[in-house]
């Protein structure tokens, strides 16, 4: 019998706000000392009251708009009660009754074609802390740095049918949220986390099979492995009766390549949700709504169409540039200064991106002022600075954003000289010192000229118009 898989995802995304959701502690503690980003509020001590970080609502709303959701104009926070050592107040403040965004869609494309995945809701909530288990000492340590870091949870409808679609969906979410600059979405950093709800049924059936939820996958590859494992476990259970499937939460062990039962529906806790009386309902008026709407970015495919159409770039170049909003913005700024899209694109793709690779930085980490890059490109295209020297200037700008390209070029002797007297002297000396190359060239070896040309250019520190040098060099040899 043939089976089909039905998958819905719950994706947690850490919002990239500066401070936490209900206090002013820094929300960025990746790699920081344990418990160094905490205060009585995010430690759940009695007497502190939550004050909503407006930026969190801005970002939640923006994420909702990116995913074509309806924005609830009155959105509320609720308390979810559960006891766990990493949750200091013994409740999580989340959104249960009126989440910020509902009923959206995300368009994905796989080898099977295009598909629209329905979004049930997006709600805002606070993260919990972390438990660090020390196996040697047999102790567990609690780190509250992450408590109250703002999250959104994106809940999809069960519209996905397998690992490939799940991957496409997650990649699309990443792109949309990164374009909107609301989240980093880096699974390796834990800023994006995904729970998979999965069931299997005979193909064509309209009755859903027994659903299991899987947690603890920390890469897209792990998610794909977990889905494949779980699907075969379900089919095995249905066909061979190897086990009785029950509705339960399972933990994925990526090293062993297996999932393990954590808790069944019967033993799951009752979260006892109720409206948080300490957080007043948040009313999103037209002014607020419109101000967020106005900041929505152009979608990657719209940008790409503009780059290939209006700017005349190749498909490949447009693809490369639209991989990251940071790259797009740098490119567009550079283009606005230099006025040559192809030039700007070449600089971005061959120079800027390779510098990022050398520095082991992601494209999203690009922090280069496109205006400055544009000025540098103008210096090169105007013949004022040689390309090799321009690369050196670019590398310097990466380390020190305050650099003004032209000033830096002057200060470091990178300005192209039009002093033909100097060029002629250098040519004369170089040619005199290398009679073999001269003889080779005269004997018909074109390559010998390139050797002489290179030596002259080196002597001139690259500050020379190649056409001018070439002409003086040939004239000089011919005149010998």
């Amino acid at each position: 019998m043939k089976y089909e898989t039905v998958i819905g995802l719950e994706v947690h995304v850490e919002l990239a706000t500066k401070s936490k959701i209900f206090c002013s502690c820094s929300a960025h503690s990746f790699g920081a000392e344990p418990n160094s980003h905490v205060c009585p509020a995010c430690c759940g001590m009695p007497g502190m009251l939550p004050v909503v970080n407006k930026r969190v609502v801005d970002y939640g709303m923006k994420a909702g708009m990116m995913l074509n959701c309806h924005i609830n104009r009155t959105t509320t926070f609720d308390k979810k009660s559960y006891y766990y050592p990493d949750l200091p107040a013994a409740y999580q403040t989340t959104q249960w009754f009126a989440p910020v965004a509902v009923n959206g869609t995300v368009e994905i494309e796989t080898s099977g074609g295009k598909k629209s995945v329905r979004i049930k809701q997006i709600h805002m909530e606070e993260d919990a802390g972390k438990l660090v288990h020390d196996i040697r000492e047999d102790t567990t340590h609690v780190d509250f740095n992450r408590t109250s870091v703002p999250l959104i949870e994106i809940v999809s409808q069960p519209d996905l049918s397998g690992a490939e679609e799940v991957e496409a969906y997650l990649e699309r979410l990443k792109t949309l949220l990164r374009y909107a600059k609301v989240a980093e979405c880096e699974m390796a950093h834990g800023t994006m986390r995904c729970d998979v709800n999965l069931s299997v049924r005979p193909e064509g059936s309209n009755v859903l099979g027994v659903r299991t939820e899987m947690k603890n996958m920390n890469s897209i590859e792990a998610i794909k492995r977990a889905i494949e494992y779980e699907v075969s476990r379900h089919i095995d259970a249905i066909e061979n009766g190897t086990e009785v499937l029950v509705q339960e939460t399972r933990r994925w062990d990526d090293i062993k390549g297996k999932s393990y039962a954590m808790r069944t529906k019967e033993t799951a806790g009752d979260y006892r949700y109720f409206p948080d009386p300490n957080v007043m309902p948040i009313v999103i008026d037209d002014e607020w709504f419109d101000s967020i709407k106005a900041t929505l970015p152009e979608l990657p495919e719209v940008k790409k169409a503009r780059y290939t159409g209006e700017y005349g770039l190749s498909d490949y170049d447009a693809d490369q540039l639209t991989k990251s909003i940071a790259v797009c913005e740098c490119f567009e700024d550079a283009y606005s200064v230099c006025g040559n899209a192809k030039d700007a694109a070449n600089w971005m793709i061959s120079e800027v991106m390779s510098l990022l690779n050398v520095k082991k930085m992601t494209y999203d980490m690009l922090d280069l002022n496109g205006i400055t890059l544009g000025e540098l490109i103008v210096l090169v295209s105007g013949g004022k600075v040689g390309r090799a020297n321009a690369k050196k200037i670019l590398a310097a700008i990466f380390d020190d954003p305050s650099i003004v390209p032209e000033e830096y070029a002057k200060a470091n002797g990178f300005i192209v000289s039009n002093d033909t007297g100097l060029i002629a002297t250098v040519v004369k000396e170089t040619v005199a010192a290398d009679p073999k190359s001269v003889a080779d060239f005269k004997g018909g070896k074109e390559k010998a000229l390139m050797a002489l040309f290179g030596k002259c250019m080196k002597q001139l520190k690259g500050n020379c118009d190649p056409q001018v040098l070439r002409k003086i060099l040939i004239d000089h040899i011919n005149g010998l």
Binding site: P46, G47, L49, V51, Y83, D270, R272, F274, N278
Partner: protein, 381 residues
């Protein structure tokens, strides 16, 4: 230096705050209540902290872990006792009406302001949707002086109202017509009934019209308030586990037993009742039937009050069934005794207690309630 008493629900930096619970015995807060900061800024010093019943949900102070506060075979109020000294007033948390009951029983004046006009920052959270920082004193003048210092917007409390709204609470308009809630006159003892009778006569003598009305909706406040209060309480006290701070059991093996033993030993019986009841009202099975229904009762009680305020300037009712609680009264009697205090708690409306009687006014009418109380005091003398 003017002296002020605060009750043990307000966090202080240099004195322990226990909220009347063994769970927080010796607990030193890292920060203090906003009300205390404002009083310090206005030149007041704290002359003492008054004991409260555990998390202040009790009658007046009978379920504190140190035992009941009893004088001459009767339950007594530690705050009222301390006010016999030279402090100007006491700032207390009105969680479940204990402040108003204590004021009524000790011929003191108390004012519970409109919810949101005094910051709850730095108060031990119990029933956040209705509890209010309140003031108790020997005179309405003193209540007014202290309230005017602690009231006002505070960015640290998300439910704190704007300064503009808080200013409305200072406006004064005269009392012309007062409604007496007939439902609540039936089950009081003779002394309370007599007090109400005298009060009515005094009002009539002042030319204030008094009409007896009945409202089954307002009378239903207590049942709904017990649900909301206990549910929120259960949620708020879940944080006390004996690990990070507070009481920890001496004997335990393993983390689960540490939690269980610490809570079993440190929480009192009334609190345990409230926790179990509150937890149950929030269960998936009961949420709509019980908790959500109580939220709806809260709304209709507010509407019933608002309808009355179209015709009346205040609604008069007792603050307690008796001026004397014998020392062997059941702890759980508070869930019935708050019949008199729950209407103002559940709606967040302001209430003044003077001469053993409670007047509930419309939102932001505490200025008018206190002006009335001052005039009443003057004439009584």
């Amino acid at each position: 230096m003017k002296k002020i008493i605060v009750d043990d629900m307000l966090l202080t930096k240099d004195l322990p705050t226990t909220a009347g619970s063994k769970m927080l015995e010796g607990y030193m807060s890292l920060f203090e209540a906003e009300a205390i900061s404002r009083l310090n800024g206005a030149g007041y010093t704290i002359s003492g902290k008054a004991e409260v019943g555990e998390f202040a949900i009790d009658l007046i102070c009978e379920t504190n872990y140190k035992g009941a506060f009893v004088k001459k075979g009767k339950l007594a109020s530690p705050v009222a006792e301390m006010l016999e000294g030279d402090a100007e007033a006491a700032v207390c948390m009105d969680v479940n009406g204990s402040v108003r009951r204590a004021a009524a029983q000790n011929s003191l004046v108390s004012i519970k302001p409109t919810y949101g006009t005094v910051s709850r920052f730095g108060t031990v959270p119990v029933a956040c949707s209705g509890e209010t920082v309140s003031v108790m004193a020997k005179s309405a003048d003193n209540c007014e002086a202290v309230l005017s210092i602690i009231a006002g917007h505070d960015d640290k409390d998300g439910t704190s109202l704007s300064d503009e709204d808080c200013a409305k609470a200072k406006e004064v308009s005269p009392m012309r017509r007062i409604a007496v809630l007939g439902n609540m006159l039936k089950d009081t003892d003779l002394a309370v009934a007599r007090k109400i009778e005298i009060f009515r006569e005094n009002l009539a003598a002042k030319g204030i019209e008094v009409c007896e009305i009945n409202s089954d909706v307002i009378a239903a406040s207590s049942a709904a308030w017990n649900v909301l209060m206990c549910a929120e309480l259960c949620n708020n006290v879940s944080r006390y586990d004996g690990v990070k701070y507070g009481y920890r059991a001496e004997n335990f093996s393993g983390i689960d037993e540490l939690y269980t033993n610490s809570r079993t030993e440190a929480f009192g019986e009334l609190l345990k009742c409230a926790i179990l009841f509150g937890s149950d009202t929030l269960s998936t099975e009961n949420y709509m039937k019980v908790y959500d229904k109580s939220l709806r009762v809260r709304r209709v009680v507010s509407e019933a009050f608002n309808a009355l305020f179209e015709q009346y300037d205040a609604v008069m009712m007792p603050a307690c069934s008796s001026f004397d609680y014998s020392e062997d009264i059941e702890d759980t009697a508070v869930f019935e005794e708050n019949y008199y205090t729950a209407p103002a708690s559940i709606t967040g409306l302001p209430a003044v207690v003077i001469d053993g009687v409670q007047l509930v006014g419309k939102a932001f009418s505490e200025g008018s309630l206190l002006a009335f109380a001052k005039e009443y005091e003057k004439e009584a003398k």
